[in-house]
Structure formats: structure tokens, C-alpha cells
């Protein structure tokens, strides 16, 4: 187990270097960001040259990348164009997005798995058809539509919650954005759980468990659900990364100053230190979530062993 984890961690190094280089290349390919700092005016050449020099933009790409990676290894993510340390931006943004992701994942697990379990157990009945219809609708409505509609209905029309999230972003205010963010994935989790349950309920070990005379709830939770959750766990694990980086739309709609907001602003202003820095962290989150998922397999299914 320990050796497996070490091997996986070592494998992350090339992935990490490769992905950061690609991101660096893409942000670089967008062109010189300095001209945009001057708005509709022509940049003053002397000032522009000094800013370029300060931001290391006057060097060739490979030197810029080497310089950047050297900085990162010492924990310095550079300075954003507004003069703030990128690490400072991260310290503000990541806790907010982590909270939002937690709310979303919680919804996915609780509601998604429950609905999937119920419809899987009642295959072909009205409940199953109802859930199927519901998930189809949810999957086909894009986030920005469900976001604006729910925000207007619950936030403005019924005035039940605040339509936007305050800078402190406490859990209570993140419930509605969390639901919006979770909706699509929630539908997938439901579908996945349902299929998996339906498949496993015909398995031999389940018949054995029933034949042993185990109580129904024990059969379902210990034998059926546990074995059926493997694909669901895989999905949720990768979804953590996707939710953290992909919350751009939701964060914009609810004015949440999280990772999505910083990335959006960074891309719009071609602020390479911000974009590369945030994406680097997201890459690490993705890799870690994947590792965690693989380790969870062994917990869920004793037949899987890592060496």
C-alpha cells in the first residue's frame, strides 16, 4: 500500500510539469498582456517596457517558464497585475470554493445516491420513471439557465435567501449556489447508482445474503450498496476537481469570489501569474482526488489489493 502511494506520487511529477507547461504555453500564446493595461489608450512605450521587464515578459518563453517554476518551488507564485501576491489571492479564493464544492458534493452524495438507490430497487415502477424523467430534465438544462432561474425565483420573487453571496461566503449562503452547481452531477450520480444497483441486485452474493436470512436493510447497505458504489465513487472523485475549477459560471451568477472568479478575471486580463498559479493548484487537487479514489476502491471492495 505504502509503496503504491509513493509510486503514484512520483508519477504525478511529470504530469504536473507537463500540465503547467501547457497552461503556460496557452496563456503565453494569447499574446502580450501589457497593451490591455492601458485601456483604449496607446501604451506609453517606456512605461510598457518597464512593466514588461518587471514581470519577466521581455524574456523568451522557456526562460520565463524556468523562472516561474523556480519561483513555485520556493512557494512564490508571483504577483498578479494588481500588485497582489497570487498566494494571497489563493488564500482568499480557495476556502470559498472548497466550501462551495463541499456543499455541492454533499448534495450529490445524499440526494443522488438516495434517489439512485430507490429507483434501482424499484425498477420499472412509477418512482423509477419519475426519477428518470427528472434527471433527464436536469441534465439538459445548462447551469446558467438553472442558476439565473433559481436565483430569480428564490432570491428575488420569494425573497427567501439573498440572491448573491457576501464576501465572507458562509455555508448558509452557499446552499443555493451549491445546489445549482451540483444539479448536473447529481443527475449523473443518480443514473450511475441506479444502473449499478440494478445490476448488482441480481448478483449471486446478494442471493446468498438473502438466503442466509439477513435483514433487508443489512443486505442493502452492507452488500448491495457497498458493491454498487465503486463507479459512483470514481465519478464523484473526478467531479471534485471539475467542480472546483468549473464553478466559473455558478460563481459568476452568485457573485462568489472564489477560484472561478479569479480564473475568469485572470483570463480576461491575460494575467498569466494568476491563471497558471490557480490551474497548478487545481492540477494537484485533481491528481490527489484521483489517488484518493483509487485507494477508496480497496476499502469498498476487499478483493482489490494494492502492492
Amino acid at each position: 500500500m505504502g509503496r503504491y502511494v509513493i509510486r503514484r506520487l512520483l508519477q504525478m511529477i511529470p504530469v504536473f510539469i507537463g500540465s503547467t507547461f501547457l497552461i503556460f504555453l496557452m496563456v503565453y500564446a494569447l499574446g502580450d498582456p501589457i497593451a490591455a493595461l492601458f485601456g483604449d489608450k496607446a501604451p506609453d512605450p517606456a512605461t510598457a517596457a518597464r512593466i514588461r521587464q518587471e514581470l519577466y515578459l521581455d524574456k523568451p518563453l522557456w526562460l520565463q517558464y524556468a523562472h516561474y517554476m523556480g519561483q513555485i518551488l520556493t512557494g512564490d507564485f508571483g504577483v498578479a497585475f494588481n500588485g497582489q501576491e497570487v498566494t494571497e489571492l489563493m488564500a482568499d479564493a480557495f476556502p470559498v470554493t472548497v466550501r462551495l464544492t463541499l456543499v455541492a458534493i454533499l448534495f450529490e452524495i445524499v440526494i443522488g445516491v438516495t434517489l439512485g438507490l430507490l429507483s434501482g430497487l424499484r425498477r420499472g415502477r412509477s418512482l423509477d420513471t419519475g426519477v428518470l424523467l427528472l434527471t433527464l430534465i436536469v441534465v439538459s438544462v445548462p447551469t446558467f439557465v438553472s442558476g439565473y432561474v433559481l436565483q430569480y425565483l428564490i432570491g428575488v420573487k420569494w425573497a427567501a435567501v439573498s440572491p448573491s453571496v457576501s464576501p465572507e461566503a458562509p455555508f448558509g449562503e452557499l446552499l443555493l449556489p451549491g445546489v445549482v452547481l451540483a444539479l448536473t452531477s447529481l443527475a449523473y450520480v443518480t443514473r450511475l447508482t441506479r444502473t449499478s444497483i440494478a445490476e448488482n441486485s441480481r448478483a449471486d452474493y446478494l442471493r446468498t445474503a438473502v438466503a442466509k436470512g439477513l435483514p433487508r436493510h443489512r443486505v442493502i447497505t452492507r452488500h448491495l450498496l457497498r458493491n454498487s458504489l465503486i463507479p459512483v465513487v470514481t465519478f464523484i472523485g473526478t467531479d471534485i476537481g471539475a467542480l472546483m475549477g468549473g464553478a466559473i459560471v455558478t460563481e459568476r451568477i452568485f457573485n462568489i469570489h472564489g477560484v472561478g472568479f479569479q480564473l475568469y478575471q485572470g483570463i480576461l486580463r491575460q494575467n498569466s501569474p494568476t491563471v497558471v498559479g490557480f490551474v497548478t493548484i487545481l492540477v494537484i487537487v485533481f491528481l490527489m482526488a484521483n489517488l484518493l479514489v483509487d485507494l477508496l476502491y480497496a476499502v469498498l471492495d476487499p478483493r482489490i489489493r494494492y502492492a
Binding site: 489608450k41 440572491p163 448558509g172
Partner: protein, 540 residues
């Protein structure tokens, strides 16, 4: 106004679910009593007066700084603020006398040195201030801000402190309306704290304006409170302003509807059709000092050869400005009939209809003119703009349709969208344009000079099309040397007629500023820069 009981119930449930105490409570949240809650955008750079060239940072600087002059929020006229008088015998050498009694909010006196040091700091190339070119008219600018290499002087030779309340300025050329440019924030005075504790100052800027910054959380919000020691005539009528950063103006608008915020100064285009119904007379839509034009690459011989002025004129006449401003912009833009802005007023140099027939919609004549001029270069034309903000794609498509209809050809005009603003700016500054391109100009100060000289004078800083006409340059020079304002304005308008003759750039429309506010506040106005006049707002 809102069903409080239900709201609290949901909040309680929310708190239970999340297992924490959530931020539920009064709808005004942590805002102080009598304060205005206003929408804001994240400023692009640090809040230094000479380094802030965009409106979001400018908003704050306008609240915490007062310069020598200030533009009247209603008329746009430059009136003395810290300056007692500005005298000049020859329109080139100016003596500036300050009023007594002005102080910064940290107690330091505002003296001649506060201005001279700030201007020297702004102009010095080592300080990388984006507004440095505003000081280029002052003698010695080339030494402190050379185009290449390092500075050979640390201070502008044209600035001299006479005594605590007097300093002199020597300009490189005559510039009669120069004192009227001094209302721009780049010319603000700075306290010693700016130089001595720069890091600290950037976290919480100190100025001499009607407000002081209470707290500033970068990227999220800023709280300003009224400064009772303020020496100026325009004291704040509310207890403070809370600026909240919104990433999406739709959310700000939704928050306004929900009563979460008092003032939104950018109505999203998608809401323009509902805004009258939603807000009634709490919706403001008035001209701002912004004009949108389509420029031509005059550096491209294909666009600059004889006869092309007819083609350029024809293109202008092929655009149905009225329909586009009404259909797409719902009257938040006004068809342009000159190259300035209505906010200048007739006395300031705005002349309605100066462009004449060339800015009217006449598809038949347009087609005739383009044919007479030899047709479009290569039979087609493109319109280039960035499309990441400002719904530029929409109007570009409309303009192209209008041109195509007038010419009776489907593919005569096509849109060339550029992904990011930075890329667009780079293509423009590198002179890579081959067809028409969008050019938006937001005035720095309400002077007709600011709409003409930087944009169309030979090799001027923002003359992206490289338009050049010796007659135009001569008239601008004469206007700048003219001590009488009315005569100077007349000269500028003569120069503007040359633009009309040659159609150096097609005026599209004047942009309006828009804002909406809640029933909790009153006396909301926008100044000519389309920024709310915060200090005049009263809270009910």
C-alpha cells in the same frame, strides 16, 4: 418589503443543514446606518492616482482625492477646488496658487510640494505610472521619461515650488486650456505617507477628499466613511459608501431588485427592456463622455489613396445608426453627428450635425459614393473588434448587415472578432489592421481638445489609424495658443470639419451612462464620466 418571517425560517434551516451559524439577519448586513451600498468592479491595478486609468479605480480616487480643479458633476465645467487661481501671461507659463486650509486625512497640510512631488513621481519612468504621458506637456518630461534608456533627471525642470502655497509650471508649447485638464485624477496631490510607507498606503490610500477609506478587502469590497475634517465645499451627504465587487452586472441588478444593494451603475444589456418597468424613475440614462467610432487604417495605401474619402463617406452613410441604437441598445446610445460628445455642451465644443449628411443614413447615395470612389479595396471590408466584453459582436453584425443591404451584396462587409481585448489592442498598436476597426474613446477631461488632438493629430498617442492632415494639425496648434476659450473652441470645430471632409473615422454613437437605484436612497446623479456622484446621494 420582503417576507421576513419566511426568510428567517429558510435561514434557520440553512444553518441547521450546514451545521454553522449562517450570515442571516438584517438585509442591510454589516453596512453602517446611512451608508450607500453600491456596485463596483475589481480595479485593474493598485489605487495610485497616476497609475489608475480605468473607471473602477477612478471611482474610489474621485471620492478620496480633490485636485486643483474639479469638473462640475452637472455641467462638466472645470471649477477651482484646491487651487485659488491659476494665472498665465503667455499660455505657456502658469503660476498656481493654492487655497489655505486643505489637509490630508492623516493631518498633513496640502502644500505646493504635495502637488510638485506627486507630479514628479508620476512622470518619472522608474515609477512605471500608466498616466505618465499626462505630464508630457511639462518641460523636462523627456529627461525624466525618455522613450528608451534610463532617466537623466529625477524631477521635471518645468516645475518649481515658490512658497508653501505657490508653484509654477512651464509647458513645452502653448496650451491655453491646460488648466482645465487639471481636474483629472492623475494630477491629485499626495501626502508624504505615499512615499514613506508606500506598501501601507496602497493597502489603505490616504487622500484629501470627502471620504476616507475605512477598510479595503481587495477583490471583494471597500468601505468608505464620510470624513468630517474635509475642507472642501462638497461634503458628503451620506455617512459613507460601501462598494461591493460584482463579477457579473446581472447579479448586481438582481441584488438591486432584491433590496440587497442600493445603487448599480451599469445596467446589463439583457435587462434594458425591463428596466423602466422594474425601476420606473429610479433608472438613469444620460449622455457620458464616450464616443464609439470606426477607424480606418490610413497607413494602408489601399485606404488612403485619392478617392477613398468617398468610399469612407459612403460607408458612413450606409450605417443605419438610428435603428441600431434603438434596437440593440434601447436608446442607451445616441447616433453620433460629430466627433465629440454632447456632455461638452454647445459652449464646450459639441456641435450637433457637424458631420452633416455623411452621418445620416442614405443607402442609395452610399452605394453611389462607394462606386465613384473606386469601390471597397478588394471588393470587401471587415470590421474588427474584441468581443469578450461590451456585446460588441451584436452591433458589429448589425453594422455589417446595414452596409451589405445598402450595397446589395451579401459578403461585402464581414466581422472579424478578436478573442481578447489585449490581443485586439496589440493588433492595433502593431498597425496590423486591414479594414475598419472599433475605437472607443472615453474622455479624460471634458474638453473638445481631448476628443480631437490625442486621436487625429499627426502621430498623436492614440491616433491608431495614423490619420494625418497638416491643415488639421495647424488648426489644433492655433486653437491651443488661443487664450480666449470661445475662439479656441471655434478653431477646434474648424479642425473637426476637416475630419468630416476626409472622414478619417466614422462616428457611430455617443455612449450613455446608466444606473439604477433602490427606494432607500435619493439624489442620485451621474457625472459626465458616467460615474455616480456619491457625495451627493442622500439615504432615507
Amino acid at each position: 418589503m420582503r417576507p421576513r418571517g419566511y426568510g428567517l425560517a429558510v435561514c434557520a434551516v440553512a444553518a441547521l443543514l450546514a451545521g454553522v451559524i449562517s450570515g442571516c439577519g438584517s438585509s442591510r448586513g454589516g453596512t453602517a446606518v446611512g451608508a450607500v451600498r453600491a456596485s463596483w468592479g475589481d480595479p485593474q491595478g493598485p489605487l495610485e492616482p497616476a497609475n489608475t486609468n480605468e473607471v473602477q479605480g477612478g471611482k474610489v480616487l474621485d471620492m478620496i482625492f480633490r485636485g486643483l480643479k474639479r469638473y462640475d458633476p452637472r455641467t462638466g465645467a472645470a471649477v477651482n477646488m484646491v487651487a485659488e487661481r491659476i494665472d498665465s501671461p503667455d499660455q505657456r507659463h502658469f503660476t498656481i496658487t493654492l487655497k489655505d486650509g486643505w489637509i490630508f486625512s492623516d493631518g498633513e497640510k496640502v502644500t505646493a510640494r504635495s502637488f510638485v512631488d506627486a507630479w514628479n513621481y508620476a512622470a518619472l519612468v522608474d515609477n512605471k505610472q500608466k498616466n505618465a504621458p499626462f505630464f508630457q506637456d511639462i518641460e523636462g518630461y523627456d529627461q525624466v521619461h525618455p522613450t528608451q534608456g534610463s532617466a537623466t533627471a529625477r524631477v521635471l525642470s518645468g516645475l518649481a515650488v515658490k512658497d508653501e502655497r505657490t508653484f509654477t509650471v512651464a509647458l513645452r508649447t502653448t496650451f491655453s486650456t491646460w488648466p482645465d485638464t487639471l481636474g483629472y485624477t492623475a494630477y491629485s496631490p499626495l501626502p508624504r505617507a505615499f512615499y514613506d510607507h508606500h506598501e501601507q498606503w496602497l493597502k489603505k490610500p490616504i487622500g484629501n477628499g470627502p471620504y476616507v477609506i475605512d477598510s479595503y478587502t481587495k477583490g471583494s469590497q471597500m468601505r468608505l466613511t464620510r470624513w468630517d475634517g474635509y475642507a472642501g465645499p462638497d461634503k458628503a451627504r451620506n455617512s459613507g459608501v460601501e462598494l461591493r465587487v460584482y463579477t457579473d452586472n446581472n447579479t448586481a441588478y438582481t441584488d438591486l431588485q432584491a433590496g440587497n444593494i442600493d445603487l448599480v451603475d451599469d445596467i446589463p444589456s439583457a435587462q434594458l427592456k425591463n428596466v423602466r418597468k422594474d425601476l420606473g424613475d429610479r433608472y438613469i440614462n444620460q449622455p457620458a463622455g464616450i464616443i464609439q467610432t470606426l477607424d480606418f487604417p490610413m497607413y494602408d495605401p489601399a485606404w488612403n489613396k485619392p478617392g477613398m474619402e468617398k468610399v469612407r463617406r459612403g460607408l458612413s452613410m450606409a450605417i443605419d445608426r438610428k435603428q441600431i441604437t434603438e434596437q440593440i441598445y434601447r436608446r442607451t446610445r445616441t447616433p453620433a453627428t460629430d466627433w465629440t460628445s454632447p456632455v461638452l455642451g454647445a459652449k464646450g465644443g459639441y456641435k450637433e450635425g457637424l458631420c452633416g449628411d455623411a452621418c445620416g443614413y442614405d443607402p442609395t447615395t452610399a452605394r453611389k459614393l462607394i462606386e465613384e470612389g473606386g469601390g471597397l479595396p478588394g471588393g470587401r471590408v471587415t470590421i474588427t473588434s474584441n468581443v469578450d466584453t461590451g456585446s460588441h459582436r451584436l452591433w458589429m453584425d448589425a453594422v455589417c448587415n446595414s452596409i451589405n443591404n445598402a450595397l446589395g451584396k451579401d459578403q461585402a462587409c464581414t466581422v472579424n472578432p478578436v478573442g481578447t481585448f489585449a490581443d485586439f489592442r496589440n493588433q492595433i498598436t502593431d498597425h496590423r489592421m486591414t479594414g475598419m476597426f472599433r475605437s472607443g474613446w472615453q474622455m479624460d477631461y471634458p474638453l473638445v481638445q481631448n476628443f480631437l488632438q490625442p486621436l487625429y493629430y499627426t502621430d498623436a498617442s492614440s491616433n491608431y489609424g495614423k490619420f494625418s492632415d497638416p491643415r488639421f494639425d495647424k488648426l489644433v496648434d492655433e486653437a491651443n495658443a488661443e487664450s480666449d476659450t470661445a475662439k479656441a473652441v471655434a478653431k477646434f470645430q474648424q479642425a473637426e470639419r476637416i475630419l468630416a471632409d476626409r472622414m478619417a473615422a466614422i462616428p457611430l454613437w455617443y455612449q450613455n451612462g446608466s444606473a439604477g437605484y433602490s427606494t432607500d436612497i435619493a439624489d442620485v446623479e451621474l457625472n459626465p464620466f458616467s460615474v455616480p456622484v456619491y457625495e451627493r446621494i442622500t439615504v432615507k
